[in-house]
């Protein structure tokens, strides 16, 4: 009895020891900054940055519609920028998916040595500064750059393509930056895929397309969704790519927020914009969780349903 009790105590202490550091970490690096942001977004901006401790709802009013004064005026442009950012981020997600999905399949079927080599190659860009890599893209995409020279050299085009400083350049840049983030979760779920299930499906009369839709897709869905979320969230808030490859003419919500802190000296407005982005992402995640649990419930109902 006594020894079992001390065992329980010891395990409790161990558990506490394991839980305290991550809790503290989350508290210091996640909860505290988040709380600061929430509070700041409801405060008056200080004249030279910082905040004045007065309740102030015009930061949100500027975005959502009730502010109307000389300095704080509602402008639908902020929401327009937000939706444009969503569109660019979603496009990035889709392109990453279309590039990574077949690539992950291809690599998962290689020998172990080759697999490791390719996984290493996928993570290789992380060893070089992002800024340097994006400047390299400026050199590639500009009118006299490698891409246009190559295309003109092969006679495919006669005039250089105007890609740099457009939405297309931003999407190319973001796709490039986020491909490893999409690839790794996708690869993890595709590598786990039991190839005998594909044979089994084909044995039971399914065509390749049916096998893809009914077996491969649902089984790799966690990787697809995981990768998409991991790409979508930072793509939505990205400001480096639009400012370098979009020539700051392509304005994303991340640029707008950065501008509030680093040039407009309006921290509360920047916080409010950040909160709007975060709220949108939370809604998306909640919807995803709900959808997943509903699917799980559906799978438990006794009726035989056609999954389309």
């Amino acid at each position: 009895m006594i020894s079992s009790k001390t065992n329980v105590d010891r395990r409790r202490i161990m558990l506490l020891g394991l839980l305290v550091p991550p809790t503290l970490f989350l508290l210091v690096f996640f909860i505290v900054p988040l709380t600061i942001m929430v509070i700041y977004s409801w405060l008056e901006p200080g004249l030279y940055g910082g905040v004045v401790w007065n309740f102030y709802d015009l930061n949100y009013g500027r975005i959502l519609g009730w502010a109307d004064s000389r300095y704080e005026k509602f402008d639908p442009v902020y929401l327009a920028i937000f939706f444009k950012s969503v569109r660019l981020a979603l496009t990035t997600v889709l392109i990453c998916l279309f590039v990574c999905y077949p690539a992950a399949f291809w690599i998962s079927k290689m020998s172990d040595t080759k697999k490791n080599l390719f996984l290493f190659l996928v993570t290789l860009p992380f060893f070089v500064s992002l800024i340097v890599r994006l400047f390299a893209w400026v050199l590639i995409l500009r009118p006299t750059g490698f891409l246009n020279q190559a295309l003109m050299g092969t006679g495919l085009i006669s005039e250089p393509l105007q890609i740099i400083f457009t939405d297309t350049a931003v999407i190319i840049g973001m796709t490039y930056v986020f491909i490893p983030f999409m690839f790794l979760p996708l690869y993890a779920s595709i590598e786990k895929l039991d190839m005998s299930l594909l044979e089994s499906s084909s044995d039971l009369g399914a065509t390749r397309l049916q096998t893809f839709r009914r077996v491969i897709l649902p089984l790799t869905l966690p990787g697809i969704i995981g990768g998409s979320i991991i790409v979508f969230i930072p793509a939505l808030g990205n400001f480096i790519v639009p400012s370098l490859l979009g020539g700051a003419k392509v304005l994303m919500i991340g640029n707008l927020i950065e501008q509030q802190f680093l040039s407009a000296r309006n921290w509360p407005f920047g916080s409010a914009l950040g909160m709007i982005v975060m709220a949108a992402i939370l809604v998306l995640l909640v919807y995803y969780v709900k959808m997943m649990t509903r699917e799980d419930r559906l799978a438990r109902t006794p009726s035989i349903k056609e999954v389309q």
Binding site: R142, T144, I164, F165, Q259
Partner: protein, 345 residues
């Protein structure tokens, strides 16, 4: 000032520092400067002379520097705010009193450069450098360019141009073309100035600080840039040219200030006094190709810099250069219009 260059310059400074005597490494000085805004040679000379180890961090805008200092960035001794930011920082009580104005070498400084209204006797900061913001262009793309109107005409004709990604500089072009002050807080005037940019927006390919390589390669015909473009003009005299637009332009001046919570106040003062020496100020100009308020230094500068009217303009051009002042709340007008410009396409 771009980040890549900041990294490069930091690396240069570090190599320079690595070469100095490590035995004296306990004495330190930490600079927080604009990217690419000091000759690394100056830092090497300072370390050689005093044994004080210098470290350099960089920022891209006054607001970025202020935000980081306000947010609690500590450990920096010297910052380089523009004059209006010097005023703001004085009001926010962020600067240390150095009495640099009473230092023996301060007679070298042209008194008209002691501009900050909060620091009329240079009790806090030392005028560091000044310059103008004009146009750099590719001579293969356009024969001659004399001003802002020409720049927009060039864009209309189908050539590409780049403007700075800075609300006040870029809306400032509109003010200059409209004949209004770049420090105007009149809403109608600000909107009108912004409209000048909006009207020309489809001919502006980007807002960027990183335009020089693109001008040089001919991808872009001309760009709104700082007087420091002369560095590149000197390297490629057949391709590049830098001008102060005939309609007028903005000018800037940065002051060297010691932070109130600087850990190495004494070393910071030593650096300021070191920089008062004409040969040091001249050494900096030689690489930076900008203006110095140090009068005896101007005699030591190579003649191609001293005689370059785009760096040291004649009095009539100088009189057309406007310097930014702090606008307080009214900065919001500019930010609002800036967002409107960015989303007008």
């Amino acid at each position: 000032m771009n980040a890549l260059k900041s990294i490069k310059i930091a690396a240069l400074a570090l190599t320079a520092l690595a070469a100095t005597n490590a035995a004296q490494a306990q004495e330190k000085l930490s600079l927080y400067n604009w990217g690419d805004y000091i000759n690394p040679e100056v830092l090497t000379r300072f370390t050689e002379e005093t044994g004080i180890e210098v470290s350099l961090d960089t920022y891209g805008s006054n607001e970025e520097m202020l935000a980081k200092i306000q947010a609690g960035a500590s450990g920096y001794d010297i910052v380089f705010p523009s004059v209006h930011m010097h005023d703001i920082m004085s009001q926010l009580d962020l600067l240390a009193k150095t009495d640099i104005g009473s230092s023996p070498g301060f007679d070298n400084i042209d008194p008209q450069f002691v501009r900050a209204s909060t620091d009329p006797n240079a009790e806090y900061c030392l005028p560091y450098a000044w310059g103008n913001v004009g146009i750099v262009y590719n001579k293969n793309k356009v024969d001659e360019l004399s001003g802002w109107a020409d720049l927009f005409e060039l864009a209309k004709s189908g050539e590409k141009i780049i403007l700075l990604d800075d609300p006040r500089e870029t809306i400032g072009i509109g003010h200059i073309l409209n004949g209004t002050s770049v420090n105007s807080t009149d809403e109608a005037e600000v909107v009108a100035a912004a409209n000048v940019i909006k009207d020309n927006l489809e001919n502006v390919s980007a807002f960027s600080y990183d335009s020089i390589p693109l001008v040089q390669s001919g991808d872009v015909a001309a760009a709104h840039w700082y007087v420091g473009a002369n560095i590149f003009v000197q390297q490629n005299p057949d391709i590049l040219e830098y001008i102060i637009p005939e309609e007028g332009a903005t000018m800037y001046q940065e002051d060297m200030c010691v932070l109130k919570n600087a850990p190495n106040q004494a070393n910071a003062k030593k650096f300021m006094e070191f920089y008062l020496k004409p040969e040091i100020a001249a050494l900096n100009v030689e690489q930076q190709m900008n203006g110095t308020p140090n009068i005896p230094a101007q005699a030591l500068i190579p003649s191609e810099i001293a005689d370059n009217p785009s760096i040291y303009p004649p009095a009539d051009v100088l009189s057309k250069l406007q310097i930014f002042e702090d606008l307080g709340q009214d900065l919001k007008l500019y930010n609002r219009e800036w967002t409107a410009i960015k989303t007008a396409q």
